[in-house]
């Protein structure tokens, strides 16, 4: 059994990635569940993952069952449980450094910069399992409003407003508190996405927007540079650089550039489909061995 511990049901990318990973583990033939502190499930994205209460499930694990986590704050408690730990590295906050240096913890990485970070900090080779964009985000031929411009305001709200103002015809929509399907539907109909979280560890929304056929304008980030290729799949750079590009958005002379960029972005995002990630997850399940394919013991069996 693989128990993936998450801290809450809140709207945070890491939570969604955890459920998505448990779904993939199931498709790869593993027995896996999400464990939350109170047994409640997140409802803001689509998933098939079973959800269990963390303390009760931990108590029922066999010695060689597997506990996954991605929040560094969980490390001490989970290590004390004595189970096999797997760290799903979704960011590169220095708080994770002790985990990366623990030889008893298997480290998985979602993206290239994280793998590089693991090698630099701990001198070890992580298991690269990749990351995926939910199918809902991939463009399906909807009519797009070229002026509709989306941004997620929790980080970089003023940057988004400033960038949108550099082309007054753009209509900025600040996206927050919506469920995944609603966000995906908006992205598939919008023309532009502004990624404004500076130094983001890993900005999944920019990749989702690329899948949805948006033109992406991104401030520099730490993670995600493998798909954010300036001038090819998006524009990424300083505010001034982005303003300069946005000013050309509606210039007919640049229409071919934008069309080519949109297509390149969608093509790049296709490499991040769930089906594309599945072989890596299958290999992980193989590596984890029989305990990954063994159901959780029932209380009766535990006795």
């Amino acid at each position: 059994m693989i128990l993936y511990c998450v801290p809450s049901t809140g709207i945070h990318g890491g939570i969604k990635v955890a459920y998505q990973f448990v779904d993939l583990l199931g498709r790869a033939g593993a027995c896996a569940a999400v464990a939350t502190p109170d047994g409640r499930a997140s409802g803001w994205f689509r998933s098939l993952a079973p959800v269990v209460r963390r303390d009760a499930a931990l108590a029922r694990l066999a010695d060689d069952d597997i506990v996954m986590f991605s929040l560094p704050h969980d490390y001490d408690e989970l290590r004390a449980s004595g189970r096999r730990l797997v760290f799903h590295c979704q960011g590169t906050d220095p708080l994770i450094d002790p985990i990366l240096r623990d030889p008893d913890v298997l480290v998985l990485t979602c993206w290239e910069e994280a793998a590089t970070y693991v090698r630099a900090v701990a001198g070890r080779e992580p298991v690269e399992v990749g990351i995926a964009v939910a199918d809902a985000f991939h463009y399906r031929g909807e009519e797009k409003d070229a002026l509709a411009t989306l941004a997620m305001p929790r980080r970089g709200r003023e940057i988004a407003r400033g960038l949108a103002a550099s082309e007054p015809r753009l209509a900025l929509v600040e996206v927050d508190g919506l469920d995944e399907c609603e966000v995906a539907a908006l992205m598939r109909r919008a023309g532009v996405y502004l990624a404004t979280a500076e130094d983001e560890w890993f900005g999944l929304p920019a990749l989702e927007a690329m899948a949805a056929g948006c033109l992406v304008f991104s401030v520099p980030v730490r993670g995600g540079m493998e798909y954010l290729v300036d001038g090819v799949t998006c524009h990424v750079g300083s505010i001034g650089h982005l303003e300069q590009q946005i000013a050309r958005l509606l210039d007919p002379a640049w229409a071919d550039h934008w069309r080519a960029m949109r297509h390149a972005a969608m093509a790049r995002a296709l490499g991040y489909r769930l089906d594309a990630q599945l072989p890596r997850v299958r290999a992980l399940v193989e590596r984890l061995g029989p305990p990954a394919r063994r159901p959780l013991r029932t209380p009766a069996a535990t006795r």
């Binding site: 059994m1 569940a33 098939l48 993952a49 269990v52 809902a136 609603e182 394919r293 959780l296």
Partner: protein, 249 residues
């Protein structure tokens, strides 16, 4: 492999006889893959069933006072030893090849529960899997023409107890249907509990069986009480895997 078919039933003698006929033919078509025995639970029919009227049933249990669907199924499951349990409503007419398709899916040892694709007599989907939105479970593709609904088996959180094949080992591990449910949602509860242990659930989609749905008199009287039990136990504790607005993930 020993397959026990459990059919709780109340009244509707004629329908039960046709249900038994279809179930027996589905068992016979397995060509030795499983040895089937059929248990009918007479759940306080006004006129008790007579064994001679239902020769296709191997066992006949009788409750003089009406009990819940869960109690009837649990009693049937305990009648004779089995490896697999098929719970079948008396208004389901199994397609001859339905059981074979369900057994095929069980080749994966982690699949613990398999549902059947069920249609209404007019050819629309009654059941091809149960999905969940924020409010709770509902039948996926309900009422759509069966010919336009894909026949690809996929993982599900739940299938209907109207025609549900369960590994007896997992059934025993879970303690059977929870008898706190008066009538309804005990199947959803069982499925969710089995998935929490890591087991998989799917629905065999290759053939259509007929389900008239909710034909037992008085059945709806208990649904609200069952829903209340379900909400108390599971509200907010299941993943959301579909969207009734049609924005499918």
């Amino acid at each position: 492999m020993r397959l026990l078919v459990a059919i709780p039933s109340r009244g509707l003698d004629g329908l039960l006889a046709i249900c038994l006929d279809h179930a027996r033919r589905a068992l016979d078509s397995l060509d030795g893959r499983a040895e089937g025995r059929i248990v009918v639970v007479d759940n306080a029919s006004e006129v008790p069933y007579v064994a001679a009227d239902h020769p296709l049933a191997d066992h006949l249990l009788r409750f003089d006072a009406h009990r819940s669907f869960s109690e009837a199924c649990n009693a049937a499951a305990a009648t004779v030893p089995s490896d697999l349990l098929l719970f079948l409503n008396n208004d389901v007419l199994l397609h001859e090849r339905a059981l074979g398709g369900m057994l095929d899916v069980l080749a994966d040892p982690l699949v613990a529960i398999v549902g059947a694709r069920l249609i209404f007599p007019e050819g629309t989907i009654q059941h091809c899997g149960v999905v969940f939105d924020e409010r709770g479970p509902y039948h996926d593709r309900w009422g759509e023409r069966t010919r336009i609904v894909p026949r690809i088996a996929r993982d599900l959180q739940c299938v209907t107890g109207a025609a549900m094949l369960v590994r007896t080992t997992v059934w025993s591990e879970l303690g059977g249907f929870d008898e706190a449910y008066p009538y309804g949602f005990e199947d959803v509860d069982l499925c969710l509990r089995s998935r929490q242990l890591g087991y998989r659930i799917t629905c065999a989609q290759d053939v259509d069986s007929i389900h008239f749905q909710s034909t037992t008199p008085g059945r709806h009287a208990f649904e609200h009480a069952s829903l209340a039990v379900f909400q108390e136990r599971w509200a907010g504790r299941f993943a959301v895997d579909s969207d009734p607005r049609g924005i499918r993930a």
